[in-house]
Symmetry: C2
Subunit: 433 residues, 2 copies
């Protein structure tokens, strides 16, 4: 067997890129021993603005280039690591690299979720590989586990706390009783949330990750657009307080399930029992519970983001690519480009938590129960809270038995029309996990 | 690429073997699709006594054989699954199969822990593979994660609840306040403990598993004999009660750590903070916390034993072997046959919980504190419990600051000689996890 010299090209020198470059340089000797073949960081393609960064200045001269052509045309590079993030130009770069027969390692959830099948098709056609362990769950080896280790299973469901930013915000709201805006501001100050946090707090980032996991788990392409998502910004401190009183925690949950030929995939805030494994996952930690017909439930948790955990996954993929190059093995990544039927969010049945502001007078609860009953929704428990004597209003929290999304939507519509209901403050699904 | 027909030979038709046979038959079509090549269960080698089992009678005729030669000499078999368990004849069978160029999948922790390096050497020499994901943690993919996914990391430590039998017993003792013998009897009635439970309750089974994990994590052969082990039979219901009062849970913990060129590996009961992730792992569940320099702490949990989870891991390995056979790739399993220095148990420093029966008179605590002080052990807290007015004795629980094992051993020796100490009831390490 020939000992190929593996030369790595790196795209991007941001926080993650810098860390990966550092590991490739600092651990070079160790990684060569692991791979059984020399692996060196050969070239880093950066933007002109990056050249002044301290990390750029600390690197050996000659490693950096701002020229696309000299990077992509360098035939000695056999693995390209893409760590630019975002859809473009990352997508075009990955495509270009695969077309040139390079193995590509990426942490880019958006590109993989949106274009995974096309890119895998290119990789297969060119006899190369696309590796994306780092795109979901940071250093938690989710992709490998779904792709290989649980392969004998029919995967029934996935439940995950998969976005560190929102989990940090929800943890602060729950533990410190602060409101969403303050918690978001804290997260931004600590570098856990971006200046424009929409992707995280609206559940878009989690939806990309769930699309990638579902595709692997259900062996059928789940597009990001197939994943229903709802953000966390409408949650209030009092929702956490009431949830806790009822024995629940409040999390942004990513849930996917397959049943016969139908798939459901959704990201939204949810109440889960406070002794459920995911309920104790706090701060920037991620956790994923996978249920298979043979294995039962396997839960994996760890830091889901950040330069160090992400570099753990990126380098594991580099080692995998190096072994494939060395042994001349074709890419083992499966292509799932057929789609199953996706269940609409309102076709799903769950229990619900409803918080309403009502007129504090007799007979109100009866009116509400009647409206819910008309839509086949039955109440499991009610707590009346915080009467405001001045405005003569009260707050009530209703927990329902399992109800169909459509029924809940029309019931809420009807409830909003009742004189005695001043406001429907919040409606949150309750999940068994 | 040629499409090899993969023919599987199965050794053993016990509980696990029967389940694996069932999956190979029931999921044959699905597994062929996954592997991209036909995979069939070709022959099962059983003992004469097995022929009367309902499972044996339900199998297609011609599948079973009681003849070693016709099994091992069948050149059409390319993967052999060993599910006999125990050291012999399993070890000889695996060796024989590898020598004949078969790929071998096994769930046998004893054989892998004791003879892993020799067997891997045979596999490498013969260009075949040895796969043992099922030997540790049932369906939790620990071997793959340590072998591949965390490869970029320097693994600092492993903390694990890795034996379902003892964890079930300890959970019952903790939750129901029952004593060890009753909990063991319950576990035996439910099939969670064997008639001769020594391997589990003495920590031997956990020591095999820790040896396998440590070898992979520290990339150096850790022999089962290198793992210190202590069982759970001396724990009493009151230890759980006191631990809980102090804010701790009591678990049989498997701990391994590397520091420079030294390794520590030990299995013993330990107090861990009741909010530590492993504290909430109850019943027959297993959980493993792995700490790496890049990834931080990754925790995996699930059912660590039983026919279904074990078959998940066995079949994943069969698929891996099938892919290697199909692509003609050499075995990628690394051989770690050098050993690092193993730290002696008494060279390790931890905090300690000590439960003593003392004379209920003044000055006793001072005498005890003096003896501990002479051995450089300082007390972090003391609780005096349950005075028995008749015998004029009392029970005290002492929590120490970190102390060296040797110091504790000699201090206990001296304490035992004090007139005022009636008995040293229990001494348990306290671990930060």
């Amino acid at each position: 067997m020939s000992k190929e010299h593996i030369k790595v090209g790196l795209l991007g020198l941001g926080v993650i890129g810098s860390q990966v470059a550092k590991v490739l340089i600092d651990k070079e000797k160790e990684l060569c021993r692991q791979a059984g073949t020399p692996i060196t960081l050969h070239k880093i393609k950066v933007l002109p603005a990056d050249l002044d960064k301290p990390m750029a200045r600390a690197l050996p001269p000659g490693l950096l280039t701002i020229d696309n052509d000299s990077f992509f045309e360098d035939s000695s590079i056999n693995i390209i690591i893409e760590l630019i993030g975002g859809e473009e130009p990352a997508y075009s770069y990955i495509q270009q690299a695969l077309e040139k027969g390079k193995h590509v390692v990426t942490a880019n959830k958006e590109v993989i979720a949106k274009h995974g099948p096309e890119l895998i098709e290119v990789a297969q056609r060119r006899g190369t590989g696309l590796y994306y362990e780092a795109s979901v769950g940071g250093g938690i080896p989710l992709v490998a586990v779904l792709e290989h280790e649980l392969k004998a299973n029919y995967i029934k469901s996935i439940h995950a706390v998969i976005n560190g930013t929102t989990n940090y915000i929800l943890t602060r709201m729950s533990k410190d009783g602060i409101d969403f805006d303050s918690a978001l501001k804290q997260a931004q100050e600590l570098g856990y949330a971006e200046a424009n946090p929409a992707n995280d707090i609206e559940g878009i980032d989690a939806a990309y990750k769930l699309a990638i996991m579902s595709t692997l788990a259900f062996q059928s392409y789940v597009r990001p657009g197939d994943v229903y998502h709802e953000g966390i910004s409408r949650l209030e401190a009092r929702d956490f307080k009431y949830a806790r009183e009822l024995g629940y925690a409040l999390k942004l949950l990513a849930i996917a399930r397959q049943c016969d030929s139908t798939i459901e995939a959704r990201v939204h805030p949810a109440l889960i029992k406070d002794d459920a494994p995911l309920a104790s996952i706090n701060g920037v930690f991620n956790a994923i519970s996978i249920e298979g017909d043979l294995v039962g439930r396997v839960i994996m948790s760890g830091k889901g983001a950040g330069p160090l955990p992400t570099s753990s996954a990126v380098i594991a993929d580099v080692l995998r690519a190096a072994r494939n190059i060395e042994s001349g093995t074709a890419c083992r990544i499966e292509l799932f480009n057929t789609c199953k039927t996706i269940q609409k969010i309102n076709e799903i049945t769950t229990r619900y938590y409803m918080r309403l502001t009502i007129l504090d007078s007799s007979g109100v609860l009866a009116s509400i129960a009647r409206v819910l009953g008309e839509h086949s929704i039955s109440i499991s428990s009610v707590i009346q809270k915080e009467t405001d004597t001045l405005s003569r209003t009260a707050e009530i929290v209703i927990m329902t038995h399992p109800a169909l999304g459509y029924s809940v939507a029309s019931a809420l519509n009807d409830l909003g029309r009742l004189e005695v209901v001043k406001e429907v403050n919040n409606v949150i699904r309750v999940e068994e996990q």
